[in-house]
Amino acid sequence: MKKIKWVVPTFYIIFLMLPIYWLLNMSFKSTTEIINVYSLWPQDFTLDNYKTIFTDSTWYMGYVNSITYTVFNTIISVSAALPAAYAFSRYKFLGDKHLFFWLLTNRMAPPAVFALPFFQFYSSVNLFDTHIAIALSHCLFNIPLAVWILEGFMSSVPKELDETAYVDGYSFPKFFFKIFIPTIAAGIGITMFFCFMFSWVELLLAKTLTATMAKPIAAIMTRTSSTSGYELGLLAAAGSLTILPGAVVIYFVRNYIAKGFAMGRV
């Protein structure tokens, strides 16, 4: 029984890794080799594709842009969601339940619905093609998610903690920053992970709201198919590089993921 158990996750992981391997494999081939020779590993190993990306500013600026707005968005979402989640987890107030559901409905709105109005709206307030525009627009789905996850974590902290602190003479801000935030640090970590993740992978809004200055890497990739034929090698290299930031983030939160999932709602 023990031995058989390993089979399912192992096969699943192999299945997950195959397309990623194929992408890496192609990124080390030249485009002519990709089209003409079918092979399971590069016959003529080359780093040219990566060299192009790291030397051409239209390419590497895409990564800078994507990381910039993703970090902006994570900071905005989490810092706005912290007090709100505290309010939802500790107090009753007029319209609290409706407000909570209304927030969630924005996580449910199909981005395709919003693409065109967003373009017009952000153009009219002169934010079109800026990092802050994408960061703000991603708040649409990241803030509800952040409030939701944080509320779950905060509700698992007993209310006695707050009361004891007040009895000990802590003021609210001092209690919040000195005691409460360290207590739910794991939860904040998980929330930041999710905000980073959803902002990093979203493309429809990011692409609609940018032209040249803040264009995300994932949108620049679509360029390879329109100009100079279909540069599969470059496309594969650029794609492989988009996996890296995610992998780095997962590595840092690996110990929190299981614990965080179990404690909070997500």
């Binding site: 395709a112 995610g246 999932f261």
Partner: protein
């Protein structure tokens, strides 16, 4: 937890409220505005009443893409939930296997969606892709750019690849929160593997599984980028899901009125389904 009544709590919620309202209310009102009017370009609008809504609700094209969307979402839930639970049950519970599994399984979740589409495109191409080439050399006549059945197969496989890990992570967290005492009690009672799953693990996972269904329903119902890159809705209209069709109408043909009406109907469907899930979930939470 018993909460105290405090209207000042609203001040804590104001930043969130302002940010989301800024993003949601103005664009949503723009959509509502368009849905009742006809445009002739250069900001000339004409009131059309409910004409677009009636047209969309009776159009074959909308019925077809809505139907495809429901079938797709249904198949996705049908595959991903049992598969995710099965993998979570067989995952190692302690030791070095845990971080390895968690890291490798989370990988697909953190890849930008159009990269997922592009990756599966070159993975499934019949001549140079591993999947396509292998299937063809095994004797299958596989070509996802030509045959609609193959296109469906590839899209579903891609989504299973992309999102099953989310169900795995959620179920795994749910399983981890079960106290060992439950298992010991089950052992004393002589419960079999199936009984443990049916009467201990499944009820304990109910909360996270509802969340998994909710998230998977929402996201698969809104799927756009991956099929857009993989198949572009084709061949023909075979994988033309709701979002793809909507963007084609709004940005491709610039039929703003019908597209806006379709957006609202689309949004209302998602909202209705999610409200049902949400109230089920909250009802459970109130009880425990």
């Amino acid at each position: 937890m018993n909460k105290t009544l405090n209207q000042k709590a609203w001040f804590f919620v104001i930043p969130v409220f302002a940010l989301v309202a800024f993003n949601a209310v103005v664009p949503l009102m723009t959509v509502v505005n368009y849905s009742f009017q006809e445009t002739f370009g250069s900001n000339v609008f004409q009131w059309e009443g409910t004409r677009w809504f009636k047209e969309i609700l009776h159009s074959e094209r909308f019925h077809a893409s809505l139907g495809r969307q429901f079938i797709f979402t249904f198949i996705i839930l049908l595959i991903q939930l049992p598969l995710g639970i099965a993998i979570a049950l067989t995952m190692p519970k302690k030791g070095w296997g845990v971080p390895v599994c968690l890291i490798l399984m989370s990988m697909p979740l953190l890849i930008p969606w159009n990269v997922v589409g592009a990756m599966w495109n070159i993975f499934a191409l019949p001549d140079i892709g591993f999947l396509g080439n292998s299937l063809n050399s095994l004797g299958f006549d596989y070509n996802f750019t030509q045959q609609s059945g193959d296109a469906w197969f590839t899209t579903i496989l891609m989504d299973v690849w992309h999102w099953t890990s989310l169900v795995v992570l959620l179920s795994y967290a749910g399983l981890n929160s079960i106290q060992p005492a439950y298992y010991q009690a089950a052992e004393i009672d002589g419960a079999g593997r199936w009984d443990i799953f049916r009467y201990i693990e499944l009820p304990k996972m109910k909360k996270v599984l509802t969340l998994a269904i909710l998230l998977r329903f929402m996201d698969s119902f809104m799927i756009y980028t991956e099929p857009f890159v993989l198949t572009g809705g084709g061949p023909g209209n075979a994988t033309n899901f709701l979002s793809l069709d909507l963007v084609k109408m709004a940005l491709g043909q610039f039929d703003l009125g019908p597209a806006a009406a379709m957006s609202l109907i689309y949004f209302l469907i998602v909202l209705l389904m999610c409200w049902v899930f949400y109230s089920l979930m909250m009802k459970d939470e109130g009880r425990t």
